[in-house]
Assembly symmetry: C3
Homo-oligomer: 247 residues x 3
């Protein structure tokens, strides 16, 4: 698929958002393809590690809102929910390499990665409330666990943007590097993981995630119900229409 | 009430401790009034956000111990417990602006706020053990979640004071600013929240807190039982008498 | 016991690894003695606090792997499991003073201490996966709670070493000091704890740990089962043999 590039090399499956003219905004077709790629990678013995990144200036600006309003994810079978579920319980290590915009799901999907390496230009934001919406991808559950209630509350309630250094100090990501280096460092970490005993790594990931897994999957569903109800509210319709008119 | 000032302006309910000659120490009448204010604010459609602060040099030096020993909170209906319960499950955002002393409940109530902005003079301490008492306001449950076991254990077991920078690095608060700016920044954040879609904000606060709410309310009760038992111990009586004699 | 020194002074029980020629690597006899010391200290009214440290350049390099392969801990009654269980639910405060190597269990046992003071030379590592093994001592459960998933995942999946400053920023430890000062500061903190109201301190430790205790003990067992299975795998046997050949 043109908008999602994949390449498998020595156990590392590189998955790259490739829609740089739209800051890698994700549309329904891209969610659907990402879900397929992950379902295959789960069981493909040649894949030891997944490395996520974005082509061009940004990781991803999040949902493609124009596409999103034409194809609202109104049921649990939508492409976006298939992606959320597959990503949330993916059994192999996932490394993310992030620079530029990581907005909305561009931030929340990092909560489901195992190692996150950022370039200094990385900019995070979760503007769900600002659009009359509510948090998704289990961020209401996982973000306070990661960064504490006050950070999570400010980021999710006010949609305040934050940079790579704040993300690092809060424990959301592992490293901040120059924009010229971040990708090669992320790739190096993925290669290191690919060479280590696979069974030990998969057991380790499973037991690290196990205390949170059932509640994570349940929260994705509960947030989805709330999200869909909010989508139909006047507050949200107006906020989205205004965003698209301005954007 | 003279010791608690309130002012409602554009959706922001300012609540201010106003007993600066006692470093805003909280007595039974103040707890009772605070509980009333919060009960009204829960359902008052004109209140979008609560902004807590202290008049004068300090946020609050905590319980007024002289008043406390004259009116020990010996049952679950006491004013202090009505305040704890109302604050713990308050459904709208609460912003706290803190400088100077934030002692005892002055620190633990911050665990129930959503955004905490501090002046550089802020000084925190939870000297429950030092008085022969035990932690309260669900701090034994919420503090390790927020700052990790070792920080929580040192702060609660030794009563070690800590400053605004340590509080920030630990994830207890959101910002440290100059003492001249902290209040206007906190107020600005409250005003921002008041203008955002209210239903989205209240859902967001609810789902952020939901995984911890039942256990938080239960811990407030269990700690209360332990606290009342300790109050009657010789160790505690001696420590309190000595504190009052010195103070 | 020569390899474990103990000294009781004014309520502080000092327990010191004393095998500096092996970087204080812990063998079966040492685990067995440590478990005995802790079982006695639980109920000994003269012990208010335990202070753990290492003689010489390092805290401890972890399991003595040569001894470990000769005496693999193949059942729940092994010395190492008696130590893990006794340490995990030890009811009195434990202060650790750490410099130099804190490898494997040298890092994971810090998750069961209440205050951890480090010298600037402290070096941490949890190379379980690198040896074809899996995390132990409930680290798969307690480490993400303490430092967040991404830090925990990188440290446990890649076995990446980290220094005292990274440990401090992540919330794993309380303080970093010069190597000349760290021990006296740790001892001072232990002495402070020993002078505070003991009943208040023990209640505080109990209620801080209570939400995690059952799951911690269960995880120690579950990780133990996985650990023993991995020990018998070809991957692990080869990694251990190679380590010993190189070491």
């Amino acid at each position: 698929m043109k908008e999602i590039l994949t390449r498998l090399d020595q156990g590392v499956l590189e998955v790259q958002f490739n829609r740089p003219e739209k800051q890698n905004a994700i549309n329904e077709a891209m969610y659907s393809y990402l879900a397929e790629v992950l379902v295959d990678a789960r069981t493909n013995p040649d894949v030891a590690v997944v490395l996520l990144s974005g082509k061009g200036a940004s990781f991803t600006a999040g949902n493609d809102l124009a596409d999103f309003m034409n194809n609202p994810p109104l049921d649990d079978d939508s492409a976006v929910f298939r992606f959320l579920q597959t990503m949330a319980d993916f059994p192999k290590p996932v490394v993310a390499a992030v620079k530029g915009y990581a907005i909305g799901i561009g931030t929340t999907l990092l909560l489901h990665c195992d190692i996150v390496v950022c370039g200094e230009s990385a900019q995070f934001q979760m503007p769900f409330v600002n659009l009359g919406l509510v948090p998704e991808f289990a961020s209401s559950y996982l973000l306070p666990l990661r960064v504490g209630h006050t950070k999570a509350a400010e980021w999710l309630m006010t949609g305040k943007p934050f940079d790579a250094n704040e993300a690092l100090a809060s424990g959301l990501i592992n490293d901040v590097l120059g924009d010229e280096q971040y990708f090669s460092v992320a790739r190096q970490k993925a290669c290191t993981l690919a060479k280590l005993p696979r069974e030990s790594i998969m057991i380790t990931k499973r037991i690290l995630k196990q205390p949170y897994m059932a509640k994570t999957l349940q929260t994705i569903e509960e947030e989805g119900d709330l999200f869909r109800k909010r989508l139909q509210s006047k507050e949200c319709q107006q906020a989205l229409a205004q965003f698209l008119a301005n954007g």
